[in-house]
């Protein structure tokens, strides 16, 4: 029954995706699709709440099978809840007159269906098929949208290339899982058996690449910004969660029990990604790229939660392992909400300001009040501030890490502590990074004249506001559903009490109370404050007038951090001084924070590969004689190999 509703919702999205090609039905089609997504969410909520599986079970056979269980249901919720505002947003963001936009809209419907299909796939071949399409469809959307730009084509290629090469890991993992009957649940692997290790490592590579974990992340900051805003939102908000979903399936469901070092590896990956992502986000100047880098950071946080869960399971601490897993799942939900919110807002900003260089956007909250405030809330949530949702999941992750340290041995205890350091650095750096974003983008002098509010921007406002409200609500009532998340873990665990996250070994977290105190306190003090106010005066700047030339730039704001991190991130800068008659006429400054993994690891490898390829291509020399010689050579080599006993 519930499975039928799932199929129905996908069918509705499918129909909506078809209708979108008809110009007259463009807007209607999006509402049809949002309705489908709503159904999808309801299906997910129902499955998670009732803890009932529906449809097929996992199988090792190569027959397309679909089904839902609570874990899939959770990701369906994430998908649905992001898809609804994204679709509403698309209705005004995309242009019904442009054929290209209609095709993009159609493909994004396909994207949603594929994402749902991958989450619900119950056999190896559908899983792999969905996995591939999940890459290809956004890539094609990127190319359709901006394919005439050479750099975008290159981004698209790098995206496809790196995810595909990394995807080899997924292929191998899935095939091994099917081969050894693990997927169907028939067999259990022994702890530390070679097959288990092979599966774990290859899935970490394969799924880690797609999830954008460092150092396999290089595609992500290129691909996500290149797509149109709604698709970026889907990519960052939903798509990169799918590999985490698979990773949870593999590591938590299928390959248990795992040796401790798996947890250590996962924690390390998470810590590196979290810090690395946010450090590069801090110095990034293009808004969407910054958001993409911050996705890496958040994937890192999620991975930290997952790693903590693995490490804790290895020590038999099932309660805390369930909490850690639930923390990761909660952060997935939260991240998908605020990240899609931020991407959608960035899309609106782009429409208004025609660009996304954060130093050149200013005072957008004046011209886009609704979207601006939503963006503000989203940023607060992503910075992990109470009482918003990001704070809850980050708090839970930190708690899980502490407990890794508590229960772990020397190795995993230390890694747990290092992850804590990483997490602390990540949270503060994120705050640094996003205060910069708000300050530059929303606040300050209004630069873009306010346009008359049209119905289009109304839809954009509604969709972002919806997500912002979710950020607040989910931040206030996490305890209501956190117990359900804990029950997603395949082992049984104790439930937490309602309204307060009263977890063992913590000082408990009561978001409602925190929120109430913060909001009421602020309100009262604000009322007290504003009984008397002097006339507005210009900003005090030693008597100087504040002109836009005196504005702080993002790179200026982050300069102290850049100088301190210099030994690690190796920023480059170039100063060109134009002098005339001994007097400096003008100074040009160019600074950059190069992405070291890209320049020190990937480009040498690709250059080397290209060189080797050039050498191999000499085989095709064009000379008939040499071709004939290859035949003799082949026979000789084979015969000698046979004589030596190799063949």
């Amino acid at each position: 029954m519930i499975f039928d509703i799932l199929l129905l919702s996908l069918a509705v999205i499918f129909i909506g995706g078809g209708l979108v090609l008809v110009k007259q039905l463009f807007k209607l089609a999006f509402f049809v699709q949002s309705f489908g997504s709503l159904l999808l969410t309801i299906v997910g909520i129902f499955v998670v709440a009732s803890r009932e599986d529906s449809g097929a079970q996992f199988t090792d056979k190569f027959h397309p099978q679909f089904g839902i269980d609570p874990l899939s249901g959770l990701f369906l919720i994430v998908l649905g809840i992001v898809a609804i505002p994204v679709l509403v947003f698309s209705g005004s963001y995309l242009d019904s007159d442009s054929k290209r936009d209609r095709v993009i809209a159609c493909l994004s419907a396909a994207f949603i269906i594929i994402l749902a299909g991958t989450v619900c796939a119950r056999d190896p071949i559908t899983l792999l098929g969905g996995w591939e399409l999940m890459t290809i469809i956004p890539a094609s959307i990127i190319l359709i949208a901006h394919g005439n730009d050479k750099s975008v084509r290159r981004s698209g290629f790098i995206y496809v290339a790196i995810t595909h090469i990394g995807g080899v890991g997924t292929w191998i993992a899935v095939i091994l899982l099917a081969k050894y009957g693990v997927m169907g649940g028939g067999t259990h692997l022994h702890e530390g058996s070679p097959i288990q290790i092979a599966i774990v490592l290859s899935s970490l590579i394969g799924m880690g690449t797609k999830a954008g974990l460092m150092p396999m992340h290089v595609w992500l900051p290129r691909a996500h910004p290149a797509a149109p805003a709604p698709v970026s939102a889907l990519m960052s908000g939903v798509m990169i969660n799918i590999p985490i979903y698979l990773l949870i399936r593999v590591l938590v469901y299928w390959c248990r029990p795992l040796p401790v070092w798996v947890g250590i590896v996962v924690l390390t990956l998470g810590a590196v990604s979290a810090v690395g992502g946010v450090v590069y986000a801090l110095f990034e100047r293009q808004l969407k790229k910054l958001l993409a880098l911050s996705s890496i950071e958040n994937m890192g946080i999620i991975t930290l939660g997952l790693g903590a869960s693995l490490a804790l399971t290895a020590h038999g601490k099932n309660d805390w392992a369930a909490i850690a897993l639930a923390a990761a799942l909660l952060h997935i939900i939260n991240h998908s909400i605020f990240k899609s919110l931020l991407f959608l807002s960035a899309g609106t900003f782009e429409k208004t300001a025609k660009q996304l260089h954060i130093d050149r956007l200013s005072g957008l909250v004046h011209s886009l009040p609704v979207v601006g405030v939503s963006f503000f809330i989203g940023v607060m949530a992503i910075s992990g501030l109470p009482p918003l949702n990001g704070f809850i999941s980050e708090w839970l992750t930190i708690q899980s890490l502490i407990h890794v340290s508590t229960y772990g041995n020397f190795a995993d205890g230390t890694i747990g502590a290092i992850s804590l350091v990483a997490m602390a650095a990540t949270v503060t750096l994120a705050l640094f990074c996003f205060t910069k974003v708000i300050g530059l983008v929303l606040l300050g002098k209004e630069q873009f004249p306010r346009k008359k509010e049209s119905s289009d921007s109304l839809l954009m406002g509604i969709s972002t506001l919806f997500l912002a409200l979710l950020c607040i609500i989910l931040g206030l009532i996490p305890a209501l559903y956190f117990g359900r998340l804990m029950q997603i873990a395949p082992w049984s665990s104790n439930k937490v009490s309602l309204l307060v996250l009263n977890l063992p070994g913590t000082g408990s977290l009561s978001p409602l109370c925190l929120g109430a105190i913060l909001i009421s306190g602020t309100f009262v003090l604000f009322l007290l404050r504003s009984n008397r106010s002097a006339k507005a005066a210009p900003t005090w700047l030693c008597g100087q007038k504040l002109t836009s030339k005196l504005y702080w730039s993002g790179s200026g704001f982050t300069k102290p951090a850049r100088m301190i991190l210099e030994p690690i991130i190796r920023p480059t800068r170039k100063i060109t001084r134009v002098e005339e008659l001994g007097i400096t006429q003008s100074i040009e400054y160019e600074g950059e924070v190069p992405h070291l993994i890209e320049s020190k690891l990937y480009s040498p490898i690709s250059t080397w590969f290209m060189k080797v390829a050039t050498i191999i291509r000499r085989v095709q020399s064009g000379s008939l004689g040499s071709y004939a010689a290859y035949l003799i050579g082949l026979i000789f080599v084979l015969l000698i190999a046979f004589r030596l006993g190799i063949l």
Binding site: L509, T539, L541, F557
Partner: protein
């Protein structure tokens, strides 16, 4: 038991919300004495507050609600922090718990409010201070979180009340971990409360100040709230230092009794440090606090080394 709780609650509220302004005042007057000046008395901050409360606030042209609401947010979150940080191993819950990492979130919120207010006014000096504050906060917060983690590992919980009662046990101190955490947290206290050698609370020179810079645009009740918040922050940090990281009694009453003494002692030390040590270069601060992080981290290692 019940009575102890009420007493502790009263101390917590009174000390945090009312008496906390004494701490910066006391340090200032002590410093003046040490430097051979007459200086203001310990109650000077209260006089300032009264004066400011009666003045009108200033609004900056082109600024948004962010600027106007920031002091309220800062003050509220500091008030909340007072509720979160317990003064003894027993005490009321106030509905918000005593989790160490909740405190981290609350402090971050106040920091965000101030920084965004600086962005809102686009005041170059405020932004410079904000930028420095955030840079330093990367290291402060990390060091604070790690030293609190050491305490949590020793206590087996991140509940600060549990920490207080567990760390009061004598045998805990046989491991180097609590001492290392103490060293680390002392550095955090210096940085968080804005004292030398990290920051100079007395200066109004734009190029040297950090915390003062962000309050530059404010006046009247806004400034009053911010100054009050500064006092509360002192209180929070010193209470944590004395109750969690320093050796203390096991009995809740004795803890409460000793609290003022320890706080005064710490204030004296702070005043001496501030009078004798010069402010360090901004770029050296991370090293200073990095040292704290490393110390605390070694505390964790000390707990984890298989014996």
């Amino acid at each position: 038991m019940h009575f102890t709780s009420i007493t502790a609650g009263l101390v917590q509220l009174f000390g945090g919300l009312v008496a906390s302004m004494l701490i910066p005042g006391f340090i200032q007057s002590l410093k003046a004495k040490l430097q051979g000046r007459v200086g203001p008395g310990s109650l000077q901050p209260y006089r300032d507050l009264r004066r400011l409360w009666n003045k009108s606030t200033v609004s900056v042209s082109n600024s948004t609600l962010t600027y106007r609401i920031a002091p309220s947010v800062v003050a509220t979150s500091m008030g909340l922090a007072v509720l979160v940080v317990p003064v003894s191993s027993l005490g009321p819950n106030w509905g918000v718990g005593h989790d160490a990492f909740v405190l981290g979130g609350v402090l971050a919120l106040s920091r965000l409010a101030l920084v965004l207010a600086a962005w809102d006014t686009r005041n170059g000096f405020s932004l410079m201070a904000a930028s420095r504050d955030l840079t330093i906060s990367i290291f402060t917060e990390t060091a604070m979180l790690i030293s609190l983690s050491v305490a949590a590992l020793v206590a087996g919980s991140t509940d600060m009340q549990v920490m207080i009662s567990r760390i009061s046990l004598f045998h805990v101190w046989s491991s180097p971990a609590p001492s290392l955490a103490l060293a680390a947290f002392s550095l955090v206290v210096i940085a968080e409360t804005g004292h030398q050698p990290v920051d100079n609370p007395d200066t109004h020179l734009e190029l040297t100040m950090i915390h003062e810079g962000m309050t530059l645009e404010y006046a009247g009740r806004d400034l009053a709230m911010l100054q009050w918040s500064g006092g509360v922050k002192h209180w929070i940090m010193l209470v944590m230092l004395s109750e969690i990281f320093l050796p203390h009694f096991q009995n809740a009453y004795l803890q409460l009794l000793c609290l003022p003494l320890t706080v005064i002692a710490i204030c004296i030390i702070l005043a001496i440090v501030e009078s004798t040590i010069v402010k360090m270069r901004l770029l050296n601060v991370p090293r200073f606090l990095g040292l704290g992080t490393i110390l605390a981290f070694m505390g964790i290692l000390a707990l984890k080394v298989p014996s």
